[in-house]
């Protein structure tokens, strides 16, 4: 699948949570992809994939937003999403949502084939599992120990368990220390954490304990929703462990200021 000749063109679906809460993760995503030679565009009409309403059962409210995504990314060669959860919404749940609307279903299936979560896109589409060689001497820094939280949709709906770990492991100044039960949910689950903050909090507490046991200075994940829960919990607990999106980790190692984007 690796694109060997010519520049790969892709559209960024940045996700509403990154757009509004973590724009610096969006900027890291841009710098990393541009460094890897991707010609990136950002359709300004994009807002949200509709997942919050879909997960809460309000499919009639999710559909108009999903249709906007189908339309605005209709002509994109690839769509890159720096979130396993939002990529799942597009790839797995749009075809489900439109199962009885033939025209939208066709668009949804076509979009599903072109949509990738960031680590999947880098490893499976670009064919780059090792970014270590892109690190210049100037970017060399002290060794840092990180641990990785496996986000649920990325693992169980998209089936991507190795890509992000390969990318982290390819960074020479980063040591990946696996936490116990890395694949267990952090307890976020969107509306779940609002409806059942205590159960969600108990799940979070377990996750924080396991992160703490690794001795890592950062916990890396591919979803800002998990990082909102985990990072919020770490901060509340007064922990010094940082919560870091994979894009930021890669950006710190290999990113460079893009010409067109400052």
């Amino acid at each position: 699948m690796a694109a060997s000749s010519g520049q790969v063109k892709a559209s960024l679906f940045v996700t509403c949570i990154i757009d509004q809460f973590y724009p610096e993760v969006g900027e890291s995503t841009v710098r990393v992809l541009q460094r890897l030679g991707v010609e990136l565009d950002f359709p300004q009409a994009q807002t949200c994939c509709g997942q919050p309403a879909f997960n809460a059962g309000f499919w009639s409210d999710a559909k108009p937003l999903a249709r906007r995504v189908l339309d605005h990314f209709q002509h994109s060669e690839y769509v890159v999403v720096p979130s396993g959860s939002c990529a799942t919404m597009i790839r797995i749940y749009y075809p489900e949502l439109f199962h009885d609307e033939p025209e939208s279903l066709q668009k949804a299936r076509s979009l599903a084939e072109r949509t990738f979560e960031l680590s999947e896109f880098i490893v499976d589409v670009l064919g780059i599992a090792d970014v270590g060689h892109l690190i210049g001497d100037a970017a060399q820094s002290d060794m840092q120990k990180v641990t990785y939280h496996e986000s649920c949709h990325l693992r169980r709906e998209l089936g991507a368990t190795t890509q992000s770990r390969a990318l982290i492991n390819s960074l020479p100044n980063v040591e990946l220390v696996e936490m116990d039960q890395a694949e267990v949910c952090c307890g976020f689950g969107g509306t779940f954490s609002v409806k059942y903050p205590e159960i969600s909090g108990a799940m979070l507490q377990d996750k924080l304990d396991r992160i703490g046991s690794t001795g890592a200075s950062s916990v890396v994940a591919c979803d800002c929703s998990c990082l909102m829960q985990i990072g919020g919990g770490l901060e509340k607990a007064g922990s010094g462990v940082q919560s870091v999106h994979l894009a930021k980790l890669l950006d710190d190692a290999i990113g460079q200021k893009p010409r067109a984007n400052g």
């Binding site: 509004q20 309403a53 409210d61 949910c185 059942y196 909090g201």
Partner: protein, 471 residues
């Protein structure tokens, strides 16, 4: 069984505050859960086996009427009687009537989740008949007058000290600290029950349609004793437990046992085809099979819910579920807990009564990953949420809170154009100045205040990504 399904929020809070329950639940991940993973990894072509198992269930459920008729024919031909019960009341009446007519005083029972659904023990007691559970876990919870905490390990929430206290109180035994002593005491108590019982009741893990055979999986041998020692044996199970052939049974047993306990095979697998024949050395003189609907037709009738009938009741989804591992089995308020319980319990007892259950999931999908027949539980939870919120298939159960419905209407309006997002985002940025400090909100206003008890919440960035992009 009396449903407390409406009380999930309260019952789950109680479980979270119960140290003993929390301690016992901690063992599930390294115990049953990892044992299942090791067993499946040690099985060549597990994934293929799993697909075959699913295909068998798909085929059988799609042709359930055909296979149920076949069961009736083959069980009858083997000398047994088949009774189709449309609900718990019919099933109870059938069993209690037989017991009365035969003058039964003492019933020994193998483990049966369907009899829990029916509240059968209570009905037998009302008729002056003593039912005795013979599975050790079931025996413990019967003494404690509780319901199963876990599908395959009903008393997993109890410590050995609690069991010792229970035995002391109910059986007058001295204090014991060793599990083997407690098990020996239960064995001693049960021995006379096995010998004196007039009737045995068991569940059925599978029914083989072609041969009329009932299959029982146990590790204690109590299923075999309950089905062969008394003169009268009644097997009770859900109507979805049919498989077409003995070959299919072989596949299903491999999937069930590995997924339940991580064993390659359980200590006992008992197959029973009708009552004792003339040249048999033992077995009951009379055999009945009670097949219970009790709401399963509703699951069958809805294509979106049908795959819930593929469930083998192995409990793997419970062990895999991070929510079950926090709130345990009693929080779910009815017979079936955990992910499969969140599907089946509301559908069998009333969707609007059980409306909290489909939302009590982070949709992490660990259940789907663990299921030996790949039941897509998250997809069904989403469907149930949709039906509760605004769906057309269960109109009498629609119950979306008004505030939540309005919130999503507003949210949809705000995000229906990039202009809307800019305008509403701008307003939110002004409003958040009341609560945000240094880029974070440490105390959210109600109804979100509980969220921020354990986590800070990020403030909206002063400039969103869309305004920073200069591509």
């Amino acid at each position: 069984m009396q449903s407390r399904i409406k009380q999930f929020p309260q019952l789950s809070s109680e479980a979270l505050a119960n140290d003993q329950i929390q301690k016992n639940l901690l063992g599930l991940y390294d115990g049953f859960h990892k044992a299942r993973i090791s067993a499946s990894e040690a099985t060549p072509n597990w994934d293929e086996l799993s697909d075959r198992g699913r295909a068998i269930k798909e085929h059988t459920i799609e042709n359930l009427d055909y296979y149920l008729e076949m069961v009736e024919r083959t069980v009858t031909a083997a000398g047994g009687k088949v009774f189709f019960a449309k609900d718990a009341a019919e099933a109870n009446k059938y069993v209690v009537d037989i017991a009365k007519v035969r003058g039964v005083k003492l019933v020994i029972k193998g483990k049966s989740m369907v009899s829990e659904e029916m509240g059968l023990n209570h009905e037998l007691e009302k008729a002056g008949i003593e039912p005795v559970e013979t599975d050790l876990g079931e025996y413990i919870i019967q003494l404690a007058d509780e319901t199963p905490f876990h599908i395959i390990a009903p008393a997993i929430h109890k410590s050995k000290e609690e069991v010792s206290d229970l035995f002391q109180e109910k059986l007058g035994t001295p204090r014991m600290t060793e599990i083997t002593d407690l098990a020996m005491e239960a064995r001693r108590q049960l021995r006379s029950k096995f010998i004196n019982a007039d009737m045995g009741i068991t569940g059925a893990n599978f029914i083989v349609a072609e041969t009329g055979t009932v299959a029982l999986v146990t590790n204690e041998g109590n299923g075999r004793m309950s089905s062969s020692m008394p003169k009268l044996h009644i097997a009770i199970t859900g109507m979805e437990k049919v498989v077409p052939s003995i070959e299919d049974l072989g596949i299903m047993l491999r999937l069930l046992i590995r997924s339940a306990t991580g064993q390659r095979i359980s200590s006992y697998v008992t197959t029973i085809t009708g009552p004792r024949k003339d040249d048999d050395e033992d077995g009951p003189e009379e055999f009945h099979l009670v097949l219970v609907d009790n709401g399963r037709s509703k699951l069958l009738a809805d294509p979106a819910m049908r795959e819930s009938l593929y469930c083998l009741r192995c409990g793997a989804c419970l062990n895999a579920c991070p929510v079950y591992r926090k709130v345990g089995g009693h929080a779910y308020g009815w017979v079936y807990p955990g992910p499969i319980g969140a599907i089946v319990s509301p559908m069998l007892t009333g969707l609007s009564d059980g409306k909290d259950l489909p939302y009590a999931s982070s949709l992490c999908g660990a259940c789907k990953e663990a299921c030996p027949v790949k039941i897509n539980i998250p997809r069904m939870l989403l469907y149930m949420r949709h039906q509760l919120a605004e769906g057309d298939n269960y109109p009498e159960h629609k119950s979306a809170p008004f505030g939540e419905a309005m919130t999503f209407k507003l949210w949809r309006f705000a995000l229906s154009s990039s202009m809307g997002l800019r305008v509403f985002g701008g307003m939110a940025r002004i409003l958040q100045k009341l609560v945000a400090k240094d880029g974070r909100i440490t105390k959210l206003p109600p109804p979100l205040s509980n969220w921020s008890k354990l986590r800070t919440f990020p403030a909206l960035a002063s400039k969103p990504f869309r305004s920073r992009w200069k591509g």
